[in-house]
Symmetry: C2
Subunit: 194 residues, 2 copies
């Protein structure tokens, strides 16, 4: 590899779902359906784990960025759906934070509650709202390790000005996790050996 260039290539099918389409989704339900569909497509195309996320302008509902789990595909354990959506969002607005008086307020919508890493990343990202589908419990129930988040993680986000909504379309979000397991998808955890 060239030592000084770390490149993340997203799978081509994501193009259809990208912000270039000028998509606007007005409600939490619509936005959650969208990221659940991302997670489903990621399984269908066998490009990664059963997780999808997207960054929207809170008020207008304009889509800014999408992400899916690409850990295995990209050989990088950082590449959870939330991390990718946030990184692309910041890249698009050319700032290291999505929070500012002269830009719209942004939110992250994710098909499953964040793991410890993504929880930490959410805090630095500058979003002001987090909308989740399946619970951490649902991910853990099928074998994913969410890591040692503080028990009061929602409160910790709210203390920092980030509103949290969870359990939106939980049943549908959880069904993608189950589908992934039933189809023999790899569950990558901290003690996994490649």
């Amino acid at each position: 590899m060239p030592s000084f260039n770390l490149e993340l290539l997203l799978p081509p099918w994501i193009q259809e779902f990208s912000a270039d389409n000028g998509r606007i989704l007005h409600t939490d339900n619509d936005r959650m359906n969208f990221v659940i569909e991302l997670s489903r497509q990621n399984i269908i195309h066998k490009t990664g784990g059963p997780f999808g996320a997207a960054v929207f302008e809170r008020l207008s509902g304009r889509l800014l960025a999408v992400g899916v789990n690409l850990v295995i595909h990209s050989n990088c354990s950082h590449n959870h759906a939330e991390m990718i959506a946030l990184a692309i969002a910041q890249h698009r607005i050319e700032r290291y934070t999505l929070y500012g008086h002269d830009i719209p307020a942004y939110e992250l919508v994710t098909s499953t509650e964040p793991c410890t890493m993504c929880f930490g990343a959410v805090i630095w990202s500058g979003i002001t709202r987090l909308v989740c589908g399946a619970y951490s419990f649902d991910a853990e129930h099928v074998g994913f390790d969410e890591g040692p988040k503080p028990e009061n993680w929602i409160e910790e986000l709210e203390k920092r000005g980030i509103e949290v909504i969870t359990g939106v379309h939980r049943t549908e979000a959880r069904s993608i996790l189950l589908q992934y397991i039933e189809e023999g998808g790899i569950v990558y955890n901290s003690r996994s050996i490649q």
Copy 2:
């Protein structure tokens, strides 16, 4: 931007410190001095925050990857020193985990204890040892927010098979944090406005 290509360009001065030089550092002290020097160079070159990290083969001491804080430079709040060193390390060995029976054991050496995000990332990374310089307290003392790590974060890592050593060359590591502040460096936190 091309929608499907997220690129991280490291500052040119890092070349001198990269794994391409085949550097071998045998002791914790040597490895810590090396990452402290990375953090110092990052200030001198004004390419980011006062943090450096590197991944080494535990036994041989061979350097695999380096990282420095590039949040502002790269417009991405994920780009802490630890995140970059781990991502480059996995990219170099072409695996999504640094843990495996057929590869050497790896460790992450970092000039300051990890924030919440990096703590979570360490768990998924596959390293089996974490060596830290300055304490989280030191970073917070000069204004950096480390985020809501669980109080027993060291125990949580050790439970997952990751040995933790901290306070190595703490005074020197902390002096870089102080130098950064004295020189008017930007302290980026969750409520910062760009």
